[in-house]
């Protein structure tokens, strides 16, 4: 019987205590952050979307090799000796046209492994995390400074140059070879030509 009254008292009392607690919470400022209006400050070294400062890129392909998910695709073309691609801000000479530097950020796992190998420190992770798209293909970011037409132009130019060089080289090689042959035949030095003189001709001449 005492237990019965005690139970009633305890339950009524605990309801009242609970109501006081919840009523107090009614006036405690909410912890909610209204996201698009208010944003939390990210940690200093937060790793989010990749960014490439293409002006500093020398096209060494090291970031692409470091990437565990192969989200970086780089294509380079050698520059002509006559062309000057300038220097990076770290003082390295740029020798390659970077015709393609695509990062598929949809594949990126934000590990940051691409950042340390970069010799010119041009690839880095930024604090940008709002880049949602309706189409997955829009998440492939093109960082190459060259327009597709320009890249094509560079490619054909270099190819032509290389072809030209190869042709020249071949020609040179051929010339060298023929020269060698010519030399060997014209000078006809005895050690190089052990062939016996044709008996007929020689006899007639002598």
């Amino acid at each position: 019987m005492i237990r019965y009254f005690k139970d009633i008292f305890v339950s009524v009392w605990s309801v009242l205590v609970g109501m006081v607690v919840t009523f107090r919470h009614l006036f405690i400022p909410a912890v909610t952050i209204q996201y698009p209006d208010v944003k939390l400050k990210l940690p200093e070294r937060a790793r989010n979307r990749l960014y490439v400062n293409i002006d500093d890129c020398i096209g060494c392909d090291q970031c692409s090799n470091a990437c565990p998910v192969d989200c970086i695709e780089i294509e380079t073309v050698k520059s002509l000796p006559t062309e000057d691609l300038g220097m990076t801000s770290t003082g390295q000479k740029k020798r390659l046209w970077v015709t393609k530097f695509d990062i598929d950020i949809a594949k990126c796992c934000y590990c940051g492994l691409c950042v340390p190998p970069c010799p010119t420190e041009c690839i880095k992770m930024t604090d940008v995390y709002e880049f949602s798209e309706f189409d997955r293909h829009n998440l492939i970011f093109n960082y190459s400074a060259l327009t597709p037409a320009r890249a094509e132009q560079v490619k054909t130019k270099t190819a032509a140059y290389e072809k030209d060089q190869a042709a020249k080289k071949a020609a040179a090689a051929a010339a060298a070879a023929s020269a060698k042959v010519a030399q060997s035949s014209s000078t006809g030095s005895p050690p190089t030509s052990p062939l016996p003189k044709p008996p007929g001709g020689d006899s007639t001449s002598s």
């Binding site: 009633i8 309801v15 109501m19 919840t22 919470h25 009614l26 405690i28 909410a30 912890v31 209204q34």
Partner: protein, 362 residues
């Protein structure tokens, strides 16, 4: 005297018999009793629907702030005030899904029965000294009787859905409402013993004057305890937490309205909130003086009566929400324990106490 005060007085005197005038005008135009009564039946709906929209929003805000959240903040600008309007527009557009194995007729009928049950109670609720839907002498009895229709609708919904969770919810609801109607009625009986009438308008008039004339402060502490018993039992009757086992989300998906979607679900929702206000209205009428001003003649009158009545009702609605976000759900056996072993004996004790008091000092 400020101009708005005069304006208010003009408005008050005009509204004195406003409803009667409206009815008179309608009668002149339409000249058909049935049509006039049908139109007049929609008058409480002018309060119930905006109230339900507001209460759903309020519930979400109260729950959010009690948990240190913000709740809806976007729709409509200021603190998401238009959220429920957007929700109801969404519900209207939604597909009305009826399960293939459901009993189609009962499944269709159930939400209407539930809503009619809770809305019919508004017919006898006195909103003001000038307005009561139907000033019948058995008002309170009528409200208790007609609000039992809700359980029929709930049972209908749960059983016709042909879903075990719905059926569980419906059975629990039936068991709960049947057992909690007893303490509810007994607690109201405590007041009826003092008033000697079931007419809610007369009960209101008995409590006019200052707030110590309210029944909650009379025959202390018997009526006070009865008011608490009534409030607790009414929570169970409206399926509100901590007595929300009929729609216990974590156990029964959504209870009896699991298989409802679109407008029918909205009707269940509307009925629940209408029911909440109906029981709050009865509590405020019987215990807190209804449309009477707490300060005697100050701020009293038919229009102020509406204000006082609605604010007292909304106070109880707020307390219901407050309790919902304070208490966990009761177990089924605890529910039955509270009803049969606590509330019912204590309401009998209150009846006995008031009876003896009235016998000794009438």
């Amino acid at each position: 005297m400020p101009i708005w005060w005069q304006l208010l007085e003009v408005l008050t005197s005009f509204s004195e018999r406003l409803i009667d005038k409206v009815e008179q005008i309608l009668r002149n135009i339409l000249d058909n009793d049935i049509v006039v009564y049908t139109v007049m039946a929609f008058v409480p709906l002018l309060w119930v629907v905006p109230y339900a929209l507001f209460a759903v929003w309020l519930e979400r805000k109260v729950s959010a702030h009690m948990q240190d959240r913000l709740g809806p903040m976007r729709v409509g600008g200021w603190h998401g005030w238009a959220q429920t309007i957007a929700d109801i527009l969404k519900l209207i557009q939604k597909e009305d899904v009826v399960p293939a194995a459901a009993d189609k007729k009962l499944h269709f009928l159930a939400p209407y029965v539930v809503f009619v049950g809770s809305y019919a109670a508004f017919a006898a609720i006195p909103f003001s000294s000038a307005y009561i839907g139907s000033n019948i002498s058995l008002g309170l009895f009528y409200i208790i009787a007609v609000s039992s229709l809700v359980v029929v609708g709930i049972l209908m919904a749960g059983w016709s859905s042909n879903n075990k969770w719905s059926l569980f919810g419906a059975m629990r609801s039936a068991a709960q409402i049947v057992s909690y109607e007893i303490p509810t009625a007994l607690a109201l009986l405590v007041v009826i013993m003092i008033t000697g009438t079931l007419n809610l308008q007369e009960i209101n008039q008995m409590q006019s004057g200052w707030f110590w004339n309210w029944f909650i402060f009379r025959k202390f502490p018997f009526v006070f305890i009865a008011s608490i018993i009534y409030f607790v039992a009414s929570l169970a009757e409206t399926n509100r937490t901590p007595f929300d086992i009929p729609e216990a989300e974590s156990e029964l998906v959504a209870g009896y309205h699991t298989e409802y979607s679109g407008m029918k679900f909205a009707l269940f929702f509307l009925a629940e909130y209408a029911n909440m206000f109906a029981v709050s209205a009865i509590a405020s009428t019987l215990f807190l003086g209804g449309w009477n001003s707490p300060f005697g003649d100050f701020l009293s009158g038919p229009l102020w009566g509406v204000f006082w009545f609605l604010s007292k009702g909304m106070f109880f609605v707020f307390v219901q929400m407050w309790l919902r976000w304070t208490l966990p759900r009761l177990r089924v056996d605890q529910l039955m324990y509270v009803s049969w072993k606590v509330l019912t004996p204590w309401s009998f004790a209150c009846i006995l106490g008031v009876g003896l008091w009235m016998m000794v000092a009438p």
